[in-house]
Subunit: 117 residues, 2 copies
């Protein structure tokens, strides 16, 4: 069998939408909608809201995972979208979801890393 | 407040221990022991075993996350250890846990990426 590395995008996103960084409710609705739109399969998730604000959420997919960690006190989050290419090439979807995440947070600037793995 | 980027290690690990790549049981025991030993706090996890073998597991931590996706048919897994440094510097722990993961799988070779974020 041949090995087809996937695409892993890792960003730090800066946003003034403190409401979206503070609690996970809108994120969860948004990202699960993205997962459905792109025909991905969520096999589980863990979402944890911290008592003083900020949240950690990871969505496990048959294709790998999407994760976010927010720090509203710094006005930023770190976000990963990683889709493997074993069953089919998901590169276009990986990029599309990260673009939608940036729009969701109405980001002011970003740092992006892109890895093949 | 000052921003202290964390360390995110991303590996592809090759192993002949098909048993460890096939089902998640031993991984879960191992990694939760590592989380406890290093004083990290798991706030949730999702672990999914695929019907034909292989698993996806993500452990959400107050410090960020640890993830693994295994493909026993290729004899490999992709693994992330990402600990933020907001509360304290966790770089030593990040590196130590990745080393323990390599020992756990008795890896034959690896590809490693290291990111500050």
């Amino acid at each position: 069998m041949e090995y087809h590395p996937g695409l892993h995008l890792l960003t730090t996103l800066y946003s003034q939408r403190k409401d979206l960084l503070h609690v996970s409710g809108q994120w969860k609705t948004f990202i699960q909608s993205q997962i459905a739109i792109h025909g991905l399969t969520e096999v589980g998730n863990c979402v944890h809201d911290f008592p003083d604000g900020g949240y950690t959420a990871v969505h496990c997919l048959t294709e790998s995972h999407i994760s976010i960690h927010t720090w509203p006190e710094y006005g930023l989050c770190t976000c990963d979208v990683y889709l493997s290419n074993f069953r089919k090439n998901n590169d276009v979807i990986t990029t599309a979801i990260m673009e939608q995440i940036k729009l969701f947070f109405e980001i002011t600037h970003e740092e992006m890393h892109s890895l093949r793995r």
